[in-house]
């Protein structure tokens, strides 16, 4: 039985990494959002499973937040925002999709190597989870730096944050997990609202920084 719980947790965490790769693979914004919804869904499932495995009921709240807020509210909001701001639908990448995937592979390998150095008496479930969480975080960061659209960058950040939640829930009996997940949801809300408020269309920084510098008197 112990074995089974472990395998399922492993499966869910692994699939989260898989979905991260799918995120990297997308080249349409709407598709990206749908995949992100899936990402959040998988997260919710694995968190729920952890709640069951560690029989820590408060984790169900986290799962619920993940399900409602990340899997439904945010994607919908972003959908509408894309419409309203008229952000055009392709994702323009800095590095091509293929190389990005390869990089992602490397990152996953890296996180595995780093984690395998952890001595085994640490709880194996936690250990595997952590490896996957780390790779999700790294992939999210990778997405942020290889995508130019603001939306995909935000999605990158959100997937990163999902990785965090995965790690947090994986840690047995970790306090404040719920609070943290709430805090992060608020943070993300801030970002999304910020995008909406500042009318940032394409990137985090549409503004031509050189013009800014001239304005600041930083250029001769």
């Amino acid at each position: 039985m112990q074995n089974l719980t472990f395998d399922i947790a492993h499966l869910l965490a692994g699939s989260l990494v898989l979905v991260s790769f799918m995120l990297l693979y997308q080249d349409r914004l709407y598709a990206l959002l749908n995949v992100y919804a899936l990402h959040a869904l998988v997260l919710a499932l694995s968190v729920a499973w952890q709640a069951y495995a560690q029989d820590a009921p408060h984790l169900y709240i986290t799962a619920a937040i993940a399900l409602l807020f990340k899997a439904i509210v945010i994607p919908v909001a972003l959908h509408r925002m894309i419409k309203q701001l008229g952000i055009h639908r392709e994702i323009d990448t800095v590095v091509g999709i293929g190389p990005t995937m390869l990089l992602g592979m490397g990152l996953v390998a890296l996180s595995m190597v780093v984690m395998l150095r952890v001595t085994t008496e640490a709880d194996p479930l936690a250990r595997e989870d952590l490896a996957f969480a780390l790779s999700v975080v790294l992939l999210g960061l990778l997405m942020m730096v290889t995508r130019r659209n603001v939306v995909s960058q935000v999605v990158g950040f959100m997937s990163l944050e999902n990785g965090l939640v995965l790690a947090a829930t994986g840690a047995k009996g970790m306090p404040f997990v719920v609070e943290i997940s709430v805090a992060f949801s608020i943070l993300i809300a801030f970002i999304v609202i910020g995008i909406f408020l500042f009318r940032i269309r394409e990137r985090f920084d549409t503004v031509d920084t050189h013009a800014l510098d001239r304005f600041r008197g930083e250029q001769p």
Partner: protein, 479 residues
């Protein structure tokens, strides 16, 4: 114990924040702001005489005692400065009363957050405090609503959020490392327990955790590859906030890093964090000192100088050893005093000259002697020249480093020298020579600046023995 200083230090700002959020009249709220910070400062002072017992949430020891008092003190002086300074912003119409109300509330929240991060014994709460502080400062940086202010705030926000995430991941890892030996739950996050049991933790996890914490909190400290938000945030925000950012927030983040360094130092077979910190410190130092040359905005220049000094401090702690650690602690405290003093001066200068562009500022020592010489004294202090205090810390860092690792001392000295060259090149133009630019009346009061510089001067000549003893104890713990 009848009077709980820690509770006061946390409660006063919280309550004040609520009050200020409700209070419409900005003149009154400015006064209230000063009052609240003063009370907080007094409460913190009492910690010198009576420390509360260490609990799962509260910890006041040799390390943070000084920093709590310092933070509340600078908070107090800054609020005093801002009270005299911010009215001018209303007159020039850069701010509306509504925003000012928001500003004062946020100021107290910031104070609360920083005090929280300082006094807590729980690494989770510490994380919460620092991140809360970050978010409030983000809001205050953007308060002028100008294009570049928003851009700066946004940059700060995004980079800050990533930093937050990384720091959290590190905290989780610490928890996981601790959990087997301390048992699940809260104890695995109580710093004192962690240090006590650190020897039994899994070194690999600790290393991994430290990497994430270094990057996460390092973003707040403004170390080199992670520094990008810092100059713009300083340059575009209101000057009192720049003073608080440079003087306090960076310190608080670095303080958090120190806590974790002590954790690693306590665990024998974890990797030595020294090399990482040394290299990041050196990079920040050299990079920032070269960046000083091309600055044209006076606030941005001093922001880079903050990066430089955080680099020095990080380097010192990375070197380790009683001398370097002592120097690092001393440098942290004196830098926050000096840098905030400089920002007070810069704020007044910006009001006098109506600009932050150094090209339009000149000959201050002839037109406004107090302001001009204040700036000169501040720059002399920040350049690490006697008789001001930073000379002592730099003396200790450089000499002890050179005796141990001559090759490391050379880039250090190079960076310091380049920084001196840059700072005085600009100072020549701003403080000396023929007067240039407008000459309004300065609204901001000079008292806080003078007070800070006086303290730094006094520290350069004489250090109170109790402080020395505390710092030496901490230096021992830091390894």
């Amino acid at each position: 114990m009848s009077f709980n200083a820690v509770a006061a230090v946390l409660a006063i700002p919280a309550v004040a924040a609520a009050l200020l959020a409700l209070l419409p009249n900005y003149r009154l709220s400015a006064r209230l702001n000063v009052l609240a910070t003063l009370l907080t400062f007094l409460a913190a002072l009492s910690l010198f005489f009576e420390r509360p017992a260490t609990g799962p949430y509260v910890l006041v020891d040799d390390l943070n005692n000084v920093f709590i008092v310092l933070t509340t003190f600078v908070g107090f002086t800054t609020s005093a400065f801002s009270a005299s300074y911010i009215e001018h912003e209303i007159e020039t119409g850069r701010l509306t009363p509504a925003f000012l109300r928001f500003y004062h509330a946020m100021y107290q929240v910031l104070m609360f957050a920083m005090n929280l991060a300082l006094v807590t014994n729980n690494i989770g709460v510490m994380w919460v405090g620092i991140e809360l502080a970050t978010l409030t400062t983000v809001l205050m940086v953007g308060i002028y609503r100008t294009h570049e202010a928003l851009e700066a705030a946004w940059k700060y926000f995004i980079l800050g959020s990533v930093g937050i995430a990384l720091a959290l991941f590190g905290t989780i890892l610490i928890y996981m490392a601790a959990e087997p030996s301390t048992g699940a739950g809260l104890n695995a996050m109580v710093w004192t327990d962690l240090v006590a049991k650190a020897a039994s933790f899994d070194p690999a996890l600790l290393n991994l955790a430290f990497v994430f914490l270094l990057l996460g909190y390092g973003t707040k400290v403004g170390l080199f590859p992670l520094h990008a938000w810092l100059p713009d945030a300083h340059a575009e925000g209101p000057t009192p906030i720049s003073a608080v950012l440079s003087g306090l927030l960076l310190n608080v983040a670095l303080y958090a890093l120190l806590r974790f360094k002590m954790l690693l130092a306590a665990s024998p077979n974890a990797l030595a964090p020294g090399p990482l910190m040394v290299s990041m410190g050196l990079m920040s130092l050299v990079f920032a000192s070269f960046m000083l040359y091309r600055r044209r905005d006076i606030k941005r220049m001093f922001a880079y100088s903050s990066i430089e000094h955080m680099g020095i401090v990080t380097f010192a702690f990375g070197m380790g050893g009683p001398l370097a650690n002592f120097a690092g602690l001393l440098h942290m405290s004196l830098h926050s005093l000096t840098k905030s003093a400089i920002f007070f001066a810069v704020g007044d200068i910006a009001q006098v000259k109506g600009t932050q562009k150094m090209a339009d500022i000149g000959g201050l020592t002839s037109t406004n002697p107090v302001l001009g010489w204040g700036l000169v004294l501040g720059v002399v202090a920040i350049a690490g020249l006697p008789p001001l205090g930073i000379f002592m810390s730099e003396f200790l860092v450089v000499s002890s480093t050179f005796a141990r690792e001559p090759l490391l001392a050379l880039p250090l000295v190079l960076g310091l020298l380049v920084a001196i060259g840059a700072l005085f090149l600009r100072l020549n133009a701003v403080a000396f020579g023929e007067p240039r630019g407008l000459n309004h009346k300065a609204k901001g009061s000079y008292v806080p600046m003078v007070a800070h510089l006086g303290l730094v001067l006094a520290a350069g000549i004489y250090l109170p023995p109790t402080l020395v003893v505390w710092f030496q104890n901490v230096a021992q713990l830091l390894g």
